[in-house]
Amino acid sequence: MIDTGVLYGLTGVALAAMGFRATLLEPEVIRKLLAINIMGVGIFLLMIATAYTGPDTAADPVLHALVLTGIVVAVSATALGLALERRRRDKDGS
Amino acid sequence: MPDVLMLACVVMAATLVVGLVPMVRSTSSVERMLTAQLLGTNGVGLILLLAQILDMPALVDVALVLALLAVIAVVAFTRRSGGSERA
């Protein structure tokens, strides 16, 4: 059988790689932000998969807490990025 | 009994993946948004099943929050594409 932790961990790595590549190559700023978020989800997935110990046992709460912190940080950064992008467009428009 | 739930879970996940196909391929935004909402409902159901199978009542809260907040995305979406915005 497939080991759940490994499966999700590898998926996390794949998502992170997709996000990283797109962040570099994507020309559009909002999509760059999406890509960074996807990369973040990939890394979080790796962490949560590490925490997972089986369907009947409690997972590692430290990693869960770290991911929660990471999610807040990611939202903050995304909001700032969107505001900068909006300001940039305002400048262009005027 | 858990086996039945588990089976239901897999079936719902399968419909979720099948539902993705029109979502990824369709060209109209409205259609995509509607499919996304359908996925939302599907997801809420899936989480409720998981709550039973994993014996984690906390997941019911997740389903509640998901259901409540999915509304906001729809409102935000319709607002932007409905043509009411001329600012």
Binding site: Y8, A22, P61 | L16, D61, S81
Partner: protein, 322 residues
């Protein structure tokens, strides 16, 4: 039978994740990208639930499926037409044609390397040890939900800095100016929803805050729900989104870090060390901190959405020109 079903479920979820991520990065228009990203957030929440991370699932449901979606969708406001083709922003494309190939190849190689390490590392994972420490120290923490114990007691310093990050982003956004706080059109759907959705959101937020001490939930999830209530208010034509103005608002913005610092300095000057709560009161103090953190997070997220501070005078919403 059961393990087989789990494997099926896992594979289906993984397919959904990768498919949506790829589609979101590839979709022809930005709007489609964003919708696909919202769906991606939803599946992510499912995955967190499946991996027994209910606290994370709650946060993802509130943020990924709700607020980030609203933030991103409203960011499209200034785009010319709905299905507009992507405009390439000059200067933001890094690497040329060969850069493209080189980056793809090197990223794939690194990813393969990491994947290999994960494959072998996951089997003899060491992560249990810290979880064991949390388990044995849990009863000293004042709460019984281990994730809350880590966030607000063992690693409270991280959470303090995290609130600072949120504040920093908000200050940055406010300093840029020109948000959408001042102009605001009434949305009929939002107006009809407001009557029941807002109270329900506030109620759920209160519940999450309270339940966080012994079950999944807590300040951040509650704050995100309150913020969602604010966003609905704004969509329904309330320019203030239910926020106070002026000094009260500014105090609310910093109240989360403020209570943390008060607590920290109090224990520090009392000779106990920074943020070392007296054990007898730990539960109550954590709830107090969470209460203010919830308010601060909610206010901050709403302001991030609005993009500027609401002004003192009332703006008449309906049909008026922005």
């Amino acid at each position: 039978m059961n393990t087989l079903s789990w494997s099926f479920l896992d594979i289906l979820l993984v397919i959904a994740l990768v498919l949506l991520a790829g589609a979101a990065l590839r979709a022809r228009s930005l709007r489609q990208s964003i919708i696909l990203f919202i769906a991606f957030g939803l599946v992510t929440a499912l995955v967190w639930a499946r991996l027994r991370a209910p606290d994370v699932a709650l946060a993802e449901a509130a943020i990924g499926a709700g607020l980030t979606g609203a933030l991103l969708l409203t960011a499209l406001r200034n785009r010319p037409s709905e299905e507009s083709r992507l405009v390439s922003n000059n200067g933001m494309r890094w690497g040329g044609r060969w850069g493209n190939v080189a980056i793809t190849v090197s990223v794939s190689l690194v990813a393969l390397g990491i994947g290999w390490a994960v494959l072998y590392g996951m089997n003899d994972t060491q992560s249990g040890r810290l979880a064991g420490q949390v388990g044995s120290a849990l009863e000293l923490s004042g709460v019984s939900n281990p994730v809350t114990a880590v966030l607000l007691n063992f690693r409270a310093y991280d959470t303090l800095l995290e609130l600072a990050v949120l504040l920093a982003a908000l200050l940055g956004i406010l300093s840029l100016g020109g948000g959408r706080a001042t102009h605001c059109t009434v949305d009929p759907i939002a107006t009809s929803l407001r009557g029941w959705l807002v109270p329900l959101l506030i109620l759920t937020a209160g519940y999450q805050l309270w339940v966080g001490a012994h079950a999944p939930g807590g300040a951040f999830q509650a704050g995100a729900l309150l913020a969602a209530a604010g966003v609905v208010q704004h969509l329904a034509g309330r320019a203030h989104a239910g926020l106070p103005v002026g000094a009260v608002l500014r105090v609310l913005m910093v109240s989360g870090i403020g209570i943390f610092m008060t607590m920290g300095l109090w224990t520090f000057l009392g000779g106990r060390g920074f943020l070392a709560y007296p054990q007898r009161w730990a539960g109550e103090l954590i709830l107090l901190i969470e209460l203010f953190a919830t308010l601060a997070i909610a206010v901050t997220l709403i302001l991030c959405y609005l993009g500027s501070e609401p002004e003192r005078r009332r703006i008449t919403p309906a049909g008026s020109k922005p």
